[in-house]
Symmetry: C2
Subunit: 449 residues, 2 copies
């Protein structure tokens, strides 16, 4: 079932396009899933991609458009007229349609919506665009199957045939009262098993999970993952049914969220992948590298400040990379555990209790490592006071790095800022500086310099 | 719809258990989703958890058991007899049942399976346990709705009522031939819309995605996410239908995978969260910290080796944290981009072309940063040769760190090892050492020492 994009395939395709062999191209793609065609379009030249999009029929191309990488889709849409975009959009589900249109400039958005022949879809799209990004409203689609609680099973089967044709996947059928308020749900399975003369209200389940239209999309993802839901209805404050979110959208949210956290930990300011241009990659990477450089300069200035001790205790300076590295590692570990815990809702209890626990943990780890280091320095250099200075500093640095790594994400989280910022280069750089400063201060105390 | 575990709730629960007020406890949990009850059990003491499990009926507790954290479930299962476990397992779907039983010792597994009254379930579980971990076979369940291609729609509706009662969620109905080979699929929706006298073979879709029972579970997750599938049938080499995997299991696989990658990048050897004991957290964190310590000692030895130059060029040593930090940051960025690209299947093309691209990228970033550093050192120290030594080293170190960060994950991936190992402390520590070594070697050349 794996569709492989081989070099041979791409070569063949390029030739067919050069010869304008439309029939052969259409046949080539006939049995191919739109997600695979989207991948092909990512590989071919831009002109070839446009050629293929204009050739295939809207039912297929609309789905391909939703699967394309953002930057490629942007370029393709720039090359289509408002009418052409409207034709594609009319084949889509409302949530995908709103996403596509939402990527255009406000002026183009208006023209495309005006070019739509389906007024109901136009109204739906306008509504979906009105919701804030990253909320349930921005994620949901208007297509769903809904029945009124007063209907019978037989009447239901008759009427939903029409609704079901519009809905790509029917999960739960939502039951509403005459004010369109969500009062229950039932599955197609329940419907098939039931007797024809039963009332919907009798066979439906009144307990129905729903999310508010303004709920954060990551919260929705958590809820759907926790309760193993495949679709969830979206309601307003009065419980009026507005739309529904399906699990495939949540899978995308989960993947994007994981990618984003990972990138922050690695110090990348944008969503880049290795196929992007050198300029794009530089824009994403350089800012954090610059921060690291400034941190390194800070470390240099601190060490210069202690220049005087060098004659007697040169070895002190040779241990600075060790101290800085340990500070960085401990900080990254602590912050990663907290950030992951916050993402999985595992972090309960007070900030203080967590800091105290981290302090003991860091103390334990620090003492174990410091003992090892003490023995090493003593054997290698023979100077007990030097060994003591380095080891005691290691413990202090590890404890403080651990506390910073635990505290900063929690603090950011309480302020409503994404705690994942506190992982990666930000923590390592600041811990490097703190670490070196603390190191020399302690060394100064112990060695009496 | 959010069920909040407040301190008041827990206090109330503890009191009810102390008073052995079974009726009140049962009522308390009556309307609560099993995923929420599992969270409550994570919060209460172990004895209280056992009490609640033994009190609630098997239909509910079996689902709770599947949602518990691994370590708590392990302790609870140790306190149940083989018969009691068998009673829980009989209420579960075969994939959850196999997972639970699979966590027991081999001896206990046998006793629990023998204690099962349902022979078909026992046979299913034995089959599922025979598949390797992290494959489609280990992930799948045996419950599904299947029809034969020769049936009519009317006959179908009659027969699947029985099957449908067993299946928690019916997505696609799978169509098989008389040799049980998968030949097509149809949805409940198709069934409802069709006329009663049509043959299944006429209304079913013959194109049906399936995975081989030995396929890697992360591959399955990729396929289901890419094609927006909610369930996928699992077949053997002869295309005989063996079971199916549902999207909720894939959502779990995705979350676990993201957690695991993140932890590797932060240098944690096990799956820990901030609520674990100090001992568990130490076991997870200390190994990588020890690696970092060894790396720091390596850096120390290198710097000691160049001790002689200190008199004249002390400032060289003051820049080592900067060089080491930049090497680490660049390495982490490069490896993160590659690892993420591999996970999302975005990495195509040859390793060489990727390395060349990384070299140019690192050169560009390195030169920009080095220019800045050169000016800084020149102004601060007034020595052009020192500024040159540090800046040129920075460029060299950044290029080499970038190449290592790009090459190592790709190399590991080609050897079938998880490339995510090459992120985090492993890369930062080795880059620190390489960085410092290269720095001093270049400084030696430029300064003629």
């Amino acid at each position: 079932m794996a569709f492989e994009i081989s070099d041979l395939f791409l070569e063949n395709l390029t030739n067919l396009i050069l010869n304008k062999d439309d029939k052969a191209i259409a046949t080539l793609f006939e049995e191919v899933h739109f997600a695979d065609i989207a991948e092909v379009l990512d590989e071919v030249s831009f002109e070839e991609a446009i050629y293929i999009i204009k050739l295939l029929d809207s039912e297929k191309t609309s789905e391909i458009l939703t699967e394309l990488e953002d930057d490629i889709r942007e370029k393709i849409l720039e090359n289509l007229s408002a009418k052409e975009i409207a034709e594609e959009v009319e084949e889509m589900d409302s949530d995908d349609a709103a996403d596509i249109i939402g990527e255009l400039s406000e002026e183009r958005q208006e023209r495309v919506i005006n070019a739509l022949e389906d007024d109901e879809l136009a109204a739906d799209i306008k509504e979906l665009l009105s919701y804030e990004d990253n909320t349930a409203g921005a994620l949901m689609a208007k297509e769903l199957v809904k029945v009124y609680e007063t209907w019978t099973v037989a009447g239901c089967m008759r009427r939903i045939r029409g609704q079901a044709k519009e809905v790509t996947r029917v999960h739960s059928i939502y039951v509403v009262d005459k004010e369109e308020k969500l009062v229950g749900r039932l599955s197609l399975k329940d419907l098939i098993i039931a007797k024809s003369d039963q009332k919907i209200a009798d066979i439906s389940k009144s307990k129905v999970d729903a999310v508010n239209v303004n709920e954060d999309d990551e919260e929705v993802a958590k809820i759907m993952a926790k309760y193993d839901l495949e679709a969830i209805p979206v309601v307003d404050e009065n419980n009026v049914l507005l739309g529904r979110i399906t699990i495939d959208d949540i899978v995308d949210v989960l993947k994007e969220e994981a990618d984003k956290d990972y990138q922050m930990a690695a110090g990348l300011t944008q969503d880049v992948d290795s196929d992007d241009s050198i300029l794009q990659l530089t824009k994403a990477r350089l800012p954090w590298l610059f921060l690291g450089l400034l941190g390194g300069i800070g470390a240099f200035l601190i060490m210069e400040g202690f220049h005087g001790v060098f004659a007697k205790y040169a070895a002190l300076f040779f241990f600075t990379p060790l101290i800085a590295a340990m500070a960085g590692n401990v900080g990254v570990q602590s912050s990663a555990i907290i950030v992951q815990g916050l993402a999985n809702d595992d972090v309960k209890g007070s900030v203080n209790s967590r800091l105290i626990k981290e302090m003991f943990l860091a103390l334990l780890n620090g003492v174990i490592l410091a003992l090892f280091l003490f023995v090493f320095v003593w054997i290698i250099k023979g100077k007990v006071d030097l060994a003591l200075a380095v080891s005691v500093s290691l413990v202090a640095v590890i404890v403080i790095a651990g506390l910073i790594g635990t505290f900063v994400p929690l603090f950011l989280n309480k302020r409503g800022i994404d705690p994942a910022i506190a992982t990666g280069p930000f923590i390592t750089t600041s811990n490097d500086i703190f670490g070196i400063l603390i190191y020399f201060m302690i060394a100064k105390m112990i060695l009496g310099i």
